[in-house]
Each structure stands twice: as structure tokens, then as C-alpha cells.
Symmetry: C2
Subunit: 345 residues, 2 copies
């Protein structure tokens, strides 16, 4: 399984599909074939491993075991169900790390057991799950995981009275934003921010930065940029940097956060990174559709200027929207707070 996890990790970390590795072993534990999933539209890990094994041997020896980091899928997408492919090839035992968290693809283990294959589950499950953090969480939620990025002064201002805001946070906090964007399938802003700041919203990182690996899709292919998403009904000028050709941009003329997430989920996005502004933040918070806050706090005061979020519909202290502080990290002069909703797992 350790080898299968190594293989899985070669796949693209941010992809509609999870990273999966598979090793086929004969009855004596010798490797017959290895495979991993290289991203949406390419063969699944099991099929890749079978192809490798069959190319050498023509057929699998009796007593072949498939070791796979994620439960073999049981549905037909762009590829056929892997559970059936393993059966057809004569695999007699399947060892699985993580059960498939998607209702659509699950059931592979059950199907295999039903036809008499020995199935072992839960081997190094934690390690396998960690490989596909956003995929797993998103599958559980049935929508993309939403991280809301906040950046403010100690008094919760995101801009000075005249609207200027560059820069409240320092260089390290801004670098952190680019790294976090790289973990997301989509970077989302409201039209207000798009018009006020004219951001490019791409991932821009110095050479050698480890987060650059998250933009890797396949060997030789150009780096993936997260989808840029602009939410709201106001029009952007043709000169907007968001409309350049460095990355794809999706304009969603809606004010409904749920609609935004349905659209993004439909595009295979597991993690949406929201960069504001206050109106978009308030809309997602009010809808209960924020799973994580990443708050860059600058040790500074403004005393006036735009607030961190718009009205949340909270009238009295009993309605206080409490979060759990999971992590506090210094980023240069600034502080990064990472929070999840109270009571979240």
C-alpha cells in the first residue's frame, strides 16, 4: 500500500478526479504491474496497472491481488467501472485504503465481494484520505468546499476611508494567498472587488516554491491555473485583468451562493477559494456556505474604511457567529488565523 500511495501522489493534486495508485501482486507478493491516475480523462489507476501487467504477461496469474488507494469505482464515466475491470482480469483479492466517498462511484467493494472476491478495506486509510483532502471533503458535502479568505486590520477594515487598500498585509501574507489559490479549483470574487481592485487572481509564485507542484497536471503539460470566477451582475470593462488569457474566467451573473457552488461542482471543482469582497463574503456567510476562514490580520489600525464583511443579519450578541480557531501562524509582520465552524468535525 505504501508503494500504491507513492504512485498516487504522482497524479495532479488539484483535479476533478482523486489521486489514486494501484499495484498488482502475484500470490508470492511479486509486482505484476503498477499504475496511477494522471488526471481527468486519462485511465484510472487500476486500468493503468492492469495494462502494464497484461502488456508483460498477457494474462494475470491465479491468486493476483490488487492493492489500491481508493475503492475501485463502480460506475461508468469517461471510463468503465474499475471493479468490473479487475474482475474481468481475474483478480482474486483487492486491498483498499480509502472507501469511495462519492455516492455516484461507491459500491465497488460491495460488488467485488458479492461475486466472491476477497476484499480488505481500511489499510492506511488516513494516509490515502490525506492525499485527496478536498475531493473527500467535497464528496461528503455534495458541493465544493468553500474557504473564505479575509484580510484586515485589527479593527476589521479592508480598506481606508478613500478605498485604498494596497497594502494592508505584507509580502509573506500575499505570498500565502498565491499558495492557497494553488490548492483551489476556483478563485472567486464579487464584481465589486473585480471593479475596485482589478485583480488578476492568478497563482504567481517564485520559481522553486513547493506550492507550484499543485499546478502540475501531467508531465510536459502547461501549469494549470485555477478557474477565475466573478460573481454578480455588474459588467467588467474589456480591459479588466480578469479577462486576460492567462487563465479561464467564468462570469456568474447571480447573487445566490448555492447557485455558484452548483455551477462549480458541475465543473469538477472540489475547493473554491473566495477572495471577497465584503458583499460576497456576507452572502456566503449568511447562507452557511463557508467551511473555512483564512484570516490575514495586519497589526495595524485604520479607524474608518470598508469593513471585513457586509451585514450578516445578526442583531444581538446571542446571534454571534462563532468559529473555532484551528491554527495561528505568523506570516512576517502579519498573523494568519485559520478557522472552521464551531461543531465541525
Amino acid at each position: 500500500m505504501r508503494r500504491a500511495l507513492e504512485l498516487a501522489a504522482r497524479g495532479p493534486a488539484v483535479d476533478p478526479n482523486p489521486r489514486v495508485g494501484c499495484v498488482l501482486l502475484d500470490a508470492d507478493g511479486r509486482t505484476l504491474g503498477e499504475g496511477w491516475h494522471r488526471g481527468a480523462g486519462t485511465p484510472h489507476a487500476e486500468v493503468a496497472a492492469l495494462t502494464a501487467a497484461l502488456a508483460d504477461a498477457g494474462e494475470l496469474p491465479p491468486g493476483t491481488t490488487a492493492v489500491v488507494t481508493l475503492e475501485p469505482c463502480n460506475h461508468t464515466g469517461r471510463t468503465g467501472p474499475c471493479s468490473q475491470a479487475l474482475l474481468d482480469a481475474g483478480v482474486s483479492r483487492v486491498v483498499i485504503a480509502q472507501p469511495d466517498p462519492t455516492p455516484l462511484a461507491a459500491g465497488g467493494a460491495e460488488h467485488l465481494r458479492a461475486v466472491g472476491v476477497e476484499v480488505v478495506t481500511g489499510v492506511m486509510e488516513r494516509e490515502a484520505t490525506a492525499l485527496n483532502e478536498w475531493f473527500t471533503a467535497s464528496a461528503r458535502l455534495g458541493r465544493p468546499v468553500v474557504t473564505l479568505k479575509l484580510a484586515s486590520t485589527l479593527d476589521g477594515r479592508v480598506a481606508a476611508a478613500d478605498g485604498t487598500s494596497r497594502w494592508i498585509t505584507g509580502e509573506q501574507a500575499r505570498l500565502d494567498v498565491h499558495r492557497q489559490r494553488a490548492t483551489a479549483g476556483a478563485v472567486v470574487v464579487g464584481t465589486g472587488t473585480a471593479l475596485a481592485d482589478d485583480p488578476q487572481l492568478t497563482v504567481r509564485l517564485p520559481e522553486g516554491d513547493p506550492a507550484l507542484a499543485l499546478l502540475h497536471v501531467a508531465e510536459g503539460a502547461p501549469a494549470r491555473q485555477p478557474l477565475r470566477v466573478v460573481v454578480g451582475t455588474r459588467e467588467l470593462p474589456a480591459s479588466a485583468r480578469l479577462l486576460d488569457d492567462v487563465a479561464e474566467t467564468l462570469l456568474l451573473p447571480t447573487h445566490d451562493p448555492a447557485e455558484v457552488l452548483t455551477t462549480l461542482g458541475g465543473r469538477g471543482i472540489h475547493h473554491a477559494w473566495l477572495e471577497g469582497g465584503p458583499t460576497l463574503a456576507a452572502a456566503f456567510l449568511r447562507a452557511g456556505l463557508v467551511d473555512r476562514l483564512v484570516h490575514h490580520l495586519a497589526p495595524a489600525l485604520l479607524g474608518s474604511g470598508a469593513p471585513l464583511t457586509g451585514d450578516l443579519g445578526i442583531g444581538t450578541i446571542a446571534g454571534l457567529d462563532r468559529w473555532r480557531l484551528d491554527d495561528v501562524t505568523r506570516l512576517g509582520d502579519d498573523l494568519r488565523l485559520t478557522l472552521t465552524p464551531e461543531g465541525a468535525a
Copy 2:
């Protein structure tokens, strides 16, 4: 000197006067007498040590050394100058830890040297200075040190839209407030807060809390409470808890922070602890009269309600009031940030 520092630490930590210890040694290093300052209005450490030594011996032997944690004073207050008292008693050598930071009382070492006494300075100076942190800082500033306490949500709100604010922070943060009050000579609020919250502003700590020692004045004497100060021109109702007889309350009908500090400095207060509200905070911040921020940050959002500070007169981002983050400590679910002005020593 280590013994002199031990003696000094017996004095009241929060007092108009610094804590000082003194040991008199004969030429062979034998102790002739010890003394420490027990608080304003009682004999200085040098005089206490001389009294002890002379009670036993009648006079000091030749070659007596005085070891004292703070430069002997050179002025006549409620007691005469200690430098002269040491001279009169025939001390021939004086070893000093911390030089006197007050312009009024300094010059003792110089005076002693001028009349031929051997003077050694700087022995364990850091330890001695730490004994009288607020006294020393206040002497350097020529006014009380001002700590502004802030408490807010992540979005910088100190109350919900309807004015309710109990409680934004948790029990541990509130306990911390009482401990910090105990370090101050005065606890200061504006009339707005006094009227809105009807606070008592006393130090209330559970038995056995180490900060209770800060309220100690002298053996057997009742615990000292910091002076309660209300700044502003609005009148308090006779029923206000601030007007109870648990502690003294000073009403200062002014809006001028400098005037407040002059008054408090005149009362021998070295450390003023400001508890708000936003108007008082803004007045002190605008005047550049805040030396330290203690910010209790609750991991929560409100989206509306009273802001952390009033207008600071900052119109654009270039005017951002930056602070240096000296410490980050978790207090239960909350976070305490301690900050000093950028560029402060």
C-alpha cells in the same frame, strides 16, 4: 546585590514609589543591616537599612559598603535625600544596580562621587530594572505608560447592532483583564462606556491567583484597588457601580488625553490601563499617547455593530497606523495580541 533584589521584591509592586532593597556590609562582607521600601510614605530602603544597622551597632564601622538596587535619591520628598543619609552615616562605598530614571531624584551617584565615596554602578541592572518596569518606563516618558485594552470580533466589532456585548470574549480573556488591571495604578474608561455597560472596573480575582500579589501594599493592610477613572463630560447616575465604595473613583470632565495623563502622573500613577470605549481609544490613539495595545480577539463575526475605535483621522492607506506584534497568546477560545508602536524600543 542578589539579596538586595530579594529585599526589594518584598515591597508593593504597584506603588507611586519604586521597589528598592539595600544591604549594608562591613569591610569583610558581613551584613550590618538590611532594608527595603514598603511603599510611598514609608522610609526609603537605604534609611531602613541604616536604621537596622545603627540600632545594633550605634555607628557604622569604617569601610562600610551600601549595596542598593536603585541609585540613592538626591532630593527631599517626604523623606530626605538618601545619598546624604549614606554620607552622614559614614558609608565609604556604594554599589548600585539601576540608575535613577527620574530627572527629579537622579544625581545621587554623582553627588556621592563628588564627595569622595567610591561608587559602582550597573551591577545586575537588568534584574533591578525589571523589578520596576512601569516606574522606569513612566520615568522615561515623563507620564504614565498607557496600555489600551481592545476586545473585538474578527471583524473589529465590540458590540452587536443592538449594543449588546456580553460576552464576546470568553472567561479566560475576562480573567486576563482582571490580572492586567492589577498591574495598573489606574483603570480608565470614557463616560460612554461607563453609561452603556455600568462596569465596576475593580480587580476581582479568585483566591490564590498570582496577580493578587500586585494588590499587596503592606503586611496586614487591605488590598489596593487601582484608581478608577472616568473621562468625559457626561454625568453618571448615583446608582453607577463606578460610584460604589469598593475603590476610589476619579471623574475627569475633559476630552484631552494629555490632561488625563498629567492628572494621573501627579497622583504617582505609572501605568494607566484604558478599557475604552471606542471614543476614548480613538482620542488616545490620535494623540499618540498609547504605548501598548492588548487586544483580545474572539474567533467570531458580527457583520455590524460598534467598531473597535472611533475615527483616527486616517484618510488613506499610506496613513495606516502600524504596530509591532510582540506576543500572541491563546486565552481559551480567544487570542490575546500584545502590540507596541512600530519603532519603539
